[in-house]
C-alpha cells in the first residue's frame, strides 16, 4: 500500500523518482562535484553517490548562498536531482528551487523525513499540495 506523508506546501512541479536518503545536511557548493554529479565531500554520508534524477531526502540545508544559482545551473545541464525533501529547508535552497523549477518540500508532520523514506523507495512529490507518496 502506498503511504502518504504530509508536509508544508513547497515549490516546484510534481515529480516521481527514486529516493536517496541520509541523515545529513546539504550544500551544493560544499558537498557536490557538480560536473560528475556526485557527492564529493569525503565526510558526507552520501560521498561518492550520484544524485542525478534522485529524490534527495536530507535533514537541512547548510552553508552558503551559492546553492541558489547552482540548482539552476545543474538543472540546465541535466545533472540534477528531481527533488529535494528536507526536515527544514533554509531560504537559499527554497530560492534555488524557485529559480530552477525544482520540487522542494519540508516540515513533515509525521516526524524525521530521513527515517520515513528509505533509500531506493519510489516516491512522488506533490509540492503544491504539501504531500509525498511512497510507493511500496
Amino acid at each position: 500500500m502506498p503511504r502518504e506523508l504530509k508536509c508544508h506546501p513547497g515549490i516546484g512541479p510534481t515529480v516521481a523518482g527514486e529516493a536517496l536518503t541520509a541523515a545529513d545536511n546539504f550544500s551544493a557548493r560544499y558537498d557536490l562535484d557538480r560536473i560528475k554529479g556526485i557527492f564529493s565531500r569525503p565526510q558526507h554520508a552520501l560521498a561518492g553517490q550520484s544524485y542525478k534524477d534522485k529524490i534527495l531526502v536530507l535533514n537541512t540545508a547548510k552553508g552558503g548562498v551559492a546553492s541558489a544559482w547552482m540548482l539552476h545551473e545543474m538543472k540546465a545541464r541535466g545533472i540534477a536531482p528531481k527533488a529535494i525533501l528536507f526536515n527544514a529547508a533554509n531560504t537559499i535552497l527554497a530560492q534555488g528551487a524557485a529559480l530552477a523549477d525544482m520540487a522542494m518540500c519540508d516540515r513533515f508532520e509525521d516526524g524525521d523525513v530521513t527515517t520515513l523514506i528509505p533509500t531506493g523507495a519510489r516516491v512522488t512529490v506533490y509540492p503544491a499540495e504539501g504531500r509525498v507518496v511512497i510507493e511500496d
Binding site: R29, D31, R41, G63, A68, A76, T91, Q95, G96
Partner: protein, 404 residues
C-alpha cells in the same frame, strides 16, 4: 509587476518572490533599502549568465534595479587570471556577467565586506543581502534585517525594491533559541573563527538563534567578522546575539535567553574542531588569506608579518581583498610588501568562489592552509586537504613550506 505591465524582468522577480514567500508563510512584502548579490560565474554557469543577460537586453525602464544594488566577490580577477590557471572561457563568462549587471544598474563592488567598505546598514534597516557572512554580520552586529538572499532572490529584490516579509524580517524569528556560555574567550582572528564554527555546528539550523555569554570585551570588526562568517558557514546561521555586545541583546532577557538552559563551550570543544584539519609538519601547497576578504586593517597586519621575509619556493600564497581595499593597500604600500613576500594579491574575488577545484588542479594545490575557519570548511568538497592556523603561523608555514 506580476501581470507583466512593468516588463518581464519585474514579472519574473515578483513571481519568484511570491513562490518563496508562500513557502515561508510571508503575509506581505517589506521594502528594502539595499540589495547585495552573490553571483560568481562558477555558480551561475552559462545558464545563469544567459538568464541575467536576457534582462539586460530589455528597454531601460524595464531592466534597471529600483534600490542601490551591489555585488559579492567575482570569480575571476580580470587583472590576474592566467597566472592562476583560470581559462579565457572563465574570464569571458565573467565579462558577460559584468556587462549584464551594469546594464541593470548594479554597482560592481565585488565584496563580501561591504559592511566594512561600502555602506553598512543601520539598526532596523530591511535589506536583501546575499553572502552568509554579510547577512550574519548585518543582522547581528548592525541590527539590520535580512534573510540569506541567494543571487536570484537578491536580484529579484533589486528589481522590485522589496522582499517577502518572513524569517529574520520578523521579531519572532530574532529571539534566541539556544544559549551558549563561552569559557575560553577567543584572542586572535582564527580563535574567533573557531568559536563561531563550534557554535554554528551546534546550532545547526537556519532557524536557530544563538545567544552567547562569556564575551566581556567588545571584539573588533574583523574579529566578529570571522566569528560570524564561520558560524554561518558551519551552521547556516543568519543571526546571533552576544550579551552586552550586539545591539539587540543588552542583557539576556532582551532576546529571551533567560528561559534557555546554558550550554558550555570549553577548550575541549574548540580543540575538537581544530582536530578536523591538518597539523604540524604537514607540507603546504598554498596558503590562502580570504573568506571573508581582508579589511584594510588585516592587510596591514599581514603585511607587517610578511615584511622582510620570503615564502618557500614550493608554497604559493594568495591574498583576496575588496577592490576598494586593494586600492588603499596599494597606496599605502601593503600590496608591495605582500608581493615582495611572494604573495599574489587579488582584488574583487574570494578564493573559494573562483573555480577552486580548477585552479587547484592547474597549480597542483591540494594541501591548503588558511587562517579562515570558513574556507577550510568549504574546500574539503573541492578536493583540498585543508588546515587551519593563525595569521602569523600561516606566514611562518608559507616561509618553511610546511605547517609550523
Amino acid at each position: 509587476m506580476l501581470a507583466g505591465a512593468m516588463g518581464p524582468a519585474r514579472q519574473w522577480a515578483m513571481d519568484h518572490q511570491m513562490q518563496v514567500g508562500r513557502m515561508f508563510d510571508a503575509a506581505d512584502m517589506v521594502p528594502v533599502s539595499q540589495a547585495h548579490m552573490m553571483a560568481d560565474p562558477e555558480s551561475l554557469g552559462d545558464a545563469g549568465v544567459s538568464f541575467v543577460e536576457a534582462f539586460a537586453g530589455l528597454p531601460e525602464p524595464e531592466r534597471r534595479v529600483r534600490v542601490p544594488m551591489i555585488t559579492d566577490p567575482r570569480g575571476v580577477d580580470l587583472s590576474c587570471y592566467d597566472p592562476l590557471g583560470q581559462t579565457e572561457a572563465m574570464a569571458d563568462l565573467e565579462r558577460r556577467f559584468i556587462a549584464a549587471c551594469q546594464a541593470l544598474g548594479i554597482m560592481m563592488t565585488d565584496t563580501c565586506i561591504n559592511y566594512q567598505t561600502i555602506m553598512p546598514p543601520v539598526f532596523g534597516d530591511h535589506v536583501a543581502y546575499g553572502d552568509t557572512g554579510v547577512v550574519i554580520y548585518s543582522n547581528s552586529v548592525c541590527g539590520a534585517r535580512s534573510n540569506f538572499e541567494g543571487g536570484p532572490s537578491a536580484l529579484a529584490a533589486g528589481l522590485t525594491g522589496r522582499t517577502p516579509r518572513y524569517g529574520l524580517h520578523l521579531d519572532r524569528h530574532r529571539r534566541a533559541t539556544r544559549r551558549f556560555l563561552v569559557e575560553t574567550p577567543p584572542v586572535e582572528l582564527t580563535d574567533w573563527g573557531v568559536l563561531g564554527a563550534v557554535i554554528g555546528r551546534k546550532a545547526g539550523s537556519y532557524w536557530a538563534v544563538p545567544v552567547i555569554e562569556g564575551i566581556d570585551t567588545a571584539p573588533t570588526s574583523d574579529q566578529i567578522k570571522h566569528f560570524g562568517a564561520a558560524m554561518a558557514s558551519y551552521g547556516s546561521t543568519p543571526l546571533f546575539h552576544i550579551v552586552g555586545v550586539t545591539p539587540e541583546a543588552p542583557d539576556l532577557k532582551a532576546v529571551g535567553g533567560d528561559g534557555l538552559a546554558a550550554e558550555r563551550i570549553g577548550a575541549d570543544d574548540l580543540a575538537a574542531l581544530r582536530a578536523d584539519f591538518g597539523g604540524e609538519g604537514d607540507k603546504v601547497d598554498v596558503v590562502v588569506f580570504a573568506a571573508p576578504q581582508l579589511s584594510l586593517v588585516e592587510m596591514r597586519q599581514l603585511a607587517a608579518i610578511c615584511a622582510g621575509r620570503r615564502r618557500h619556493a614550493d608554497t604559493d600564497v594568495i591574498v583576496c581583498t575588496a577592490p576598494s581595499v586593494y586600492a588603499d593597500a596599494e597606496r599605502m604600500g601593503f600590496n608591495a610588501t605582500l608581493q615582495a613576500f611572494g604573495a599574489t594579491v587579488l582584488q574583487g574575488t574570494c578564493f573559494y568562489q573562483q573555480y577552486a577545484r580548477e585552479i587547484g588542479e592547474a597549480n597542483g594545490w591540494t594541501r591548503l592552509l588558511s587562517n579562515s575557519a570558513k574556507i577550510v570548511n568549504i574546500l574539503g568538497g573541492y578536493g583540498y586537504k585543508p588546515a587551519l592556523a593563525s595569521m602569523a603561523a600561516c606566514v611562518a608555514s608559507a616561509e618553511k613550506g610546511e605547517i609550523v
